[in-house]
C-alpha cells in the first residue's frame, strides 16, 4: 500500500493561493491520487482526483509530476470557509482485487482574515 506524507498544518490568509504537497514514493501503476476535505463534525468530502499531469475542477487543481511520487493540491484564493483538514489518498480499486484506501493524518489548513 502506498504511504503518504503531508505537512501536519498550514496557515494562510484570505485571498491567497494555498498549495499542499503530498509525498507518495511507492505509488503503484494502478493507483489514483485523491484528495478529500473534512470540516469539523462532518465526514470527509471528495475534492479532486488525478492520475498524472494536471487536473482542474471548480474547486481546486491537482498537479502531478511525471514520476508521480508526489502531488500538489492547489486552492486558489482561499476563504475562511476553506479552513479544514485535507487528506491525500493514494490507491485504487481494481475489479476482483481488494485495495484498502487508508487515510493519513491529513493537513490542517487554517485560513485567517
Amino acid at each position: 500500500l502506498a504511504k503518504t506524507t503531508q505537512p501536519i498544518s498550514m496557515d494562510s490568509y484570505e485571498g491567497q493561493e494555498v498549495n499542499i504537497t503530498c509525498s507518495h514514493n511507492n505509488i503503484a501503476t494502478n493507483d489514483y491520487i485523491t484528495w478529500y476535505q473534512q470540516f469539523p463534525s462532518q465526514g470527509p468530502r471528495f475534492i479532486i482526483q488525478g492520475y498524472k499531469t494536471k487536473v482542474t475542477n471548480e474547486v481546486a487543481s491537482l498537479f502531478i509530476p511525471a514520476d508521480r511520487k508526489s502531488s500538489t493540491l492547489s486552492l486558489p484564493r482561499v476563504s475562511l470557509s476553506d479552513t479544514a483538514v485535507y487528506y491525500c489518498l493514494v490507491g485504487a480499486f481494481i475489479s476482483g482485487g481488494y485495495n484498502k484506501l487508508i487515510f493519513g493524518a491529513g493537513t490542517r489548513l487554517a485560513v485567517h482574515p
Binding site: 494502478n30 489514483y32 485523491t34 478529500y36 463534525s41 462532518q42 465526514g43 470527509p44 468530502r45 471528495f46 482526483q49 492520475y51 483538514v85 487528506y87 490507491g91 485504487a92 480499486f93 481494481i94 475489479s95 481488494y98 484498502k100 484506501l101 487508508i102 487515510f103 493519513g104 493524518a105 491529513g106
Partner: protein, 119 residues
C-alpha cells in the same frame, strides 16, 4: 432519501455492552467501509466490504464485527464495548471499479458520522 445515512448519530453506552452502528446507502454501491476517527487524528479503516457477503479487515479490526447480507446495509457491531472504542465512526461507500482509467470509480462518499461514547 437518497444518499448514505448512519444511525444512531449519537450513542452513549457502558463498558461490556453490545452496540451496533447502522449504515445504509441508496446507490447500490458495491464497496462499503467503516472508519473510526479519534479526536485530533485521521481516519483509520476498521473493515470494508467489496460486495454482499464479502468483507475484509482493515487497519484496526479487533473488537469489531461486520456483516453485509444486503448490498445497501453494512452494520458495525461492537460485541463488548471498551472505553478505547470511544470515537466517531464514519461509514463510506464507493461504486464498483471498472478498472484502470475509470476516474471517479473509487471516490468515497461518507456518511455524517456516529459519535460513540463508552463509559
Amino acid at each position: 432519501d437518497a444518499g448514505i445515512t448512519q444511525s444512531p448519530r449519537y450513542k452513549i453506552t457502558e463498558t461490556g455492552r453490545q452496540v451496533t452502528l447502522m449504515c445504509h446507502q441508496t446507490w447500490s454501491h458495491s464497496y462499503m467501509f467503516w472508519y473510526r476517527q479519534d479526536l485530533g487524528h485521521g481516519l483509520r479503516l476498521i473493515y470494508y466490504s467489496a460486495a454482499a457477503d464479502i468483507t475484509d479487515k482493515g487497519e484496526v479490526p479487533d473488537g469489531y464485527v461486520v456483516s453485509r447480507s444486503k448490498t445497501e446495509n453494512f452494520p458495525l457491531t461492537l460485541e463488548s464495548a471498551t472505553r478505547s472504542q470511544t470515537s466517531v465512526y464514519f461509514c463510506a461507500s464507493s461504486p464498483q471499479a471498472l478498472g484502470q482509467g475509470s476516474f471517479g470509480a473509487n471516490v468515497l462518499t461518507f456518511g455524517a458520522g456516529s459519535r460513540l461514547t463508552v463509559l
